[in-house]
């Protein structure tokens, strides 16, 4: 049993390494597509961590939604916006610094409090199952409103994008 624990430990740290390494690639790369690749590696690493936590379904969702849909949105965002060859200038001073530091600080603080408030149970000791039926039951009864709000949010985002595009096209003479 000891041998398998070591293997499990190695796999866990490997996944963490993939996740964090992808993150560094995402912020460090000079071309936007490379950043995006780093981001998708991070998403895949997180999907692996979900498998590690015992929910295969959530991990598949992570791959499909984040690794698939979100990355495609970002790809198209890059392809229609910047030309991908433009090197992103990382200018961290002036107003950028003023905006970036409080935002990051807030994010870190929120994460910290969330982590402190959670009662952590080691994955091996948890007996609850995280099968797809269980997820469905939870979504249907406990977090139903949240998910309807997410779909509303996505709808609003979509409508907003359409409005922005249409007003741009009217300005440029229907081209």
């Amino acid at each position: 049993m000891h041998f398998y624990q070591i293997i499990a430990e190695i796999i866990f740290w490997l996944l963490v390494l993939i996740t964090i390494g992808g993150g560094f690639l995402a912020i460090g790369a000079r071309m936007l597509i490379h950043s995006l690749m780093g981001l998708s590696i991070t998403f895949l690493g997180v999907a692996g961590l979900y498998i590690y936590l015992g929910s295969f379904f959530i991990s598949l969702l992570q791959v499909l939604i984040y690794g698939g849909a979100i990355c495609i949105v970002l790809v198209f965002g890059i392809m229609v916006g910047y030309t991908p060859r433009q090197i992103v200038e990382t200018r961290i001073r002036g107003e950028n610094l003023l905006l970036a530091v409080p935002t990051c600080g807030l994010a870190v603080a929120l994460l910290y409090f969330a982590i402190r408030r959670t009662g952590w149970v080691p994955a091996a000791q948890r007996l609850a199952d995280y099968s797809i039926e269980r997820v469905g039951h939870t979504l249907l009864y406990d977090f139903c409103l949240g998910f309807e709000l997410i779909s509303l949010l996505l709808l609003v985002g979509m409508i907003g994008a359409i409005i922005v595009v249409n007003s741009q096209e009217e300005e440029s003479g229907g081209q």
Partner: protein
């Protein structure tokens, strides 16, 4: 996590690793047996049907329509994948609640689709001139 699930993951891991090996092996073999003749500089040009390539393809921007399609895809995929786990407990849920949920979710999706349709997202450039 019980043993059966662990063994399932081992299968998945092994299949993935062997898939990478199966993809890499032909390339390796090819690198070993390929002919090593001198290639002229023209061979390494970007292929544009014999013309001298014009610019880099990375420097072109693409139509904004693609982005809208991607956003709509995101909305659809998130909502539909939410309904997947619901489908597995569909037979245990009271009829009114289950059908109501489907109506609300699919209704929101349909609203987005109808809005995009009305606003001409599905029109392509040639049609827009008439419009």
């Amino acid at each position: 996590m019980n043993d059966k699930i662990l063994i399932d993951y081992m299968y998945i891991g092994l299949f993935f690793l062997c898939g990478i090996a199966a993809a890499g092996a032909p390339i390796l073999i090819s690198l070993l047996v390929r002919p090593r003749t001198k290639i002229s500089q023209r061979t390494l040009q970007t292929y544009e049907c014999g013309n001298i390539p014009f610019g880099q393809s990375w420097d072109f921007r693409h139509g904004i329509g693609f982005y809208l399609y991607a956003l709509m895809f995101l909305a659809f995929e998130v909502d539909v994948l939410y309904l997947y786990p619901v489908a597995t407990v569909f037979h245990k849920v009271p009829a009114f609640r289950a059908v109501g949920l489907f109506v609300v979710f699919l209704g929101i999706l349909a609203l987005g689709l109808i809005y995009a349709w009305r606003k001409g997202v599905f029109l392509w450039t040639s049609e827009k001139k008439i419009y």
